[in-house]
């Protein structure tokens, strides 16, 4: 099945950056009631606005969990401005997938939550 490429399965089975962050990290939770995905993002920004540490917890389908895992890996060390500029196409590129209507919400929930955390 195309949707579940090896990289997605790998990130789903062994999520990177899964867990909480100690200290003064910003924490934002979001959910997607229609499919029951929920995610919490923890972000620690440096003085200069760089992402020093980021982690997530949550439950959801393979696509949403893999998306969270890949995104958290991808944004570490980037500036908040760079991360805020990320869009749907960037998530598709990371996942290596063209998102179908049915799965778009799952895949974008982590990015939306990260954006919300950076706006805090």
């Amino acid at each position: 099945m195309d949707l579940y490429r090896d990289n997605i399965l790998d990130h789903f089975r062994n999520p990177r950056n899964y867990g909480t962050l100690a200290g003064s990290a910003t924490r934002v939770s979001q959910n997607n009631p229609s499919c029951g995905d929920s995610i919490t993002i923890n972000i620690d920004l440096s003085q200069k606005g760089k992402i020093r540490a980021v982690s997530f917890t949550g439950t959801g389908c393979a696509v949403s969990m893999a998306s969270a895992s890949m995104l958290t890996e991808f944004i570490k060390g980037k500036t908040s401005t760079e991360v805020l500029a990320l869009q749907k196409e960037d998530v598709e590129r990371l996942l290596g997938l063209k998102l179908t209507l049915a799965r778009i919400k799952c895949a974008l929930l982590p990015l939306e939550t990260i954006h919300q955390a950076l706006h805090k």
Binding site: M1, L3, Y4, L9, F12, R13, P33, S34, C35, G36, D37, S38, T59, G60, C61, A62, V63, S64, R103, C106
Partner: protein, 413 residues
């Protein structure tokens, strides 16, 4: 007649279809049933032979259409054990039937009333009542369920009182499969308050078992044609004649009037009072054919068949340790619906993998979010059975679930 699902399946054109070269395993009849050739043919016949409006023409075509439409009403009435076909109102679906009751009976409730429902309802039997509760500032209470997903009958005495104007609940849960003891519930409620109007959401019951509105003793009963082999676009509202008579109209316009002057209108009698505008005539004709089809097989046999399949499926599914099944354990207490979760795998992923083999199950909250909250889960998978399913479909589901578990977890625990 011998009950042979494979023979029945041959009456359903879509089941002859192959996708990616494989047969279709349809396990989502709770959402909508498949349609047999006779029903499809009837809607085509209408469009080919007498595709005209009803009640309006004196010409032969219109008379034929009108007669067909009214015969359908009679057939549906008989099917649900109602001797007076004027008590059968055609709507768009069960949802509209419930909205109709809420917007007429609900809207005219006296102050100090309250409305009671249950936590296992489909959104269609919650939201219309929330609207009324909000507008009229009257309480909306919910009967709880026990650990096996049965209504807590003790809750009836706690939630229902002298001011309970409406009790509305589902005959069969579209998630848990629970068959509620409708007669017992009505008897207990009537002891507390004999004036409480009883609304039964029979969207999952009428397609699957023999029922009689006279025997149940309810005041209203609603269902949808598309879940009982009929076309989409038609629903039924059955209501006691004396209640229908007292109710204000729901929508207004053509067909539902007796006389219109520019200043005022005299409404038609029920059921016409509630059927404003041109209805889905082809759909209503198709529904009568669906009823005919079900009656030819026999509702008793259909129920027995679904029960046997459910016992078979529950027995197999329960052996999987990675599975959590919701609802009553006894098949006698449930319809052919099984909601479950594979631990650690999201229902969307399960459904997606099953789709590789054309196994159609539902994933999500099945329009019952409050129930999922009550079960402390976000979503679930749901497989449901109807007369065209057999053990090979259950076996396919089992195989699909094992594949899914292997695929995501790499071990079958």
């Amino acid at each position: 007649m011998l009950f042979k699902p494979s023979k029945i399946a041959s009456d359903f054109p879509v089941l002859q279809r192959k996708i990616k070269g494989k047969r279709i395993v349809y396990l989502d009849s709770t959402a909508s049933s498949l349609k047999p050739q006779s029903v499809i043919q009837e809607t085509v016949r209408y469009y080919e032979e007498c595709p005209v409006n009803i009640f309006r023409g004196v010409y032969t075509l219109s008379e034929e259409a009108t007669e067909g439409y009214e015969n359908s009403r009679g057939k549906v009435a008989e099917f649900i054990g109602c001797p007076n076909s004027a008590e059968v109102v055609f709507t768009r679906n069960a949802t509209e039937s419930l909205n109709l009751i809420a917007q007429t009976v609900g809207r005219t409730l006296p102050a100090h009333s309250n409305i009671v429902s249950t936590v296992m309802e489909h959104h269609a039997n919650i939201v219309p009542w929330q609207v009324i509760s909000g507008e009229k500032k009257i309480p909306l209470r919910f009967i709880d369920i026990d650990n096996e997903g049965r209504l807590k009958l003790d809750d009836l005495e706690k939630k229902i009182d002298k001011n309970t104007a409406i009790l509305t609940f589902t005959f069969i849960s579209n998630v848990l499969g629970t068959i509620n003891p409708v007669k017992e519930i009505i008897a207990r409620v009537k002891k507390i308050n004999k004036n409480t109007v009883i609304v039964i959401d029979a969207a999952q019951a009428v397609p699957h078992l023999k029922l009689s509105v006279m025997d149940l003793g309810c005041d209203f009963l609603v269902f949808s044609a598309h879940k009982m082999l009929g076309p989409t676009g038609v629903g039924v509202l059955w209501g006691k004649a004396e209640l229908l008579k007292k109710m204000p109209p729901y929508q207004t316009g053509g067909e539902m009037i007796r006389e219109v002057q520019l200043e005022k209108t005299v409404y038609n009698e029920p059921p016409y009072k509630f059927e404003a505008g041109t209805p889905d005539i082809a759909g209503v004709l198709g529904l009568a054919k669906a009823v005919e089809y079900l009656e030819n097989i026999g509702m008793g046999k259909i129920r027995e068949h679904e029960k046997e399949l459910t016992v078979y499926a529950l027995g197999k599914l329960q052996k999987l340790s990675a599975i959590e099944i919701y609802g009553p354990k006894e098949a006698t207490e449930r319809g052919g619906v099984i909601a479950f979760n594979l631990k650690g795998i999201h229902p969307h992923d399960v459904a997606q993998i099953l789709n590789n083999d054309n196994i159609c199950i539902r994933s999500g909250h099945h329009c019952a979010m409050p129930l999922h909250h009550r079960l402390e889960i976000n979503s679930s998978c749901r497989a449901s059975f109807y007369l065209y399913n057999d053990e090979s479909d259950v076996d396919a589901l089992l195989q699909g679930l094992e594949n899914t578990a292997k695929f995501f977890l790499r071990k079958w625990c």
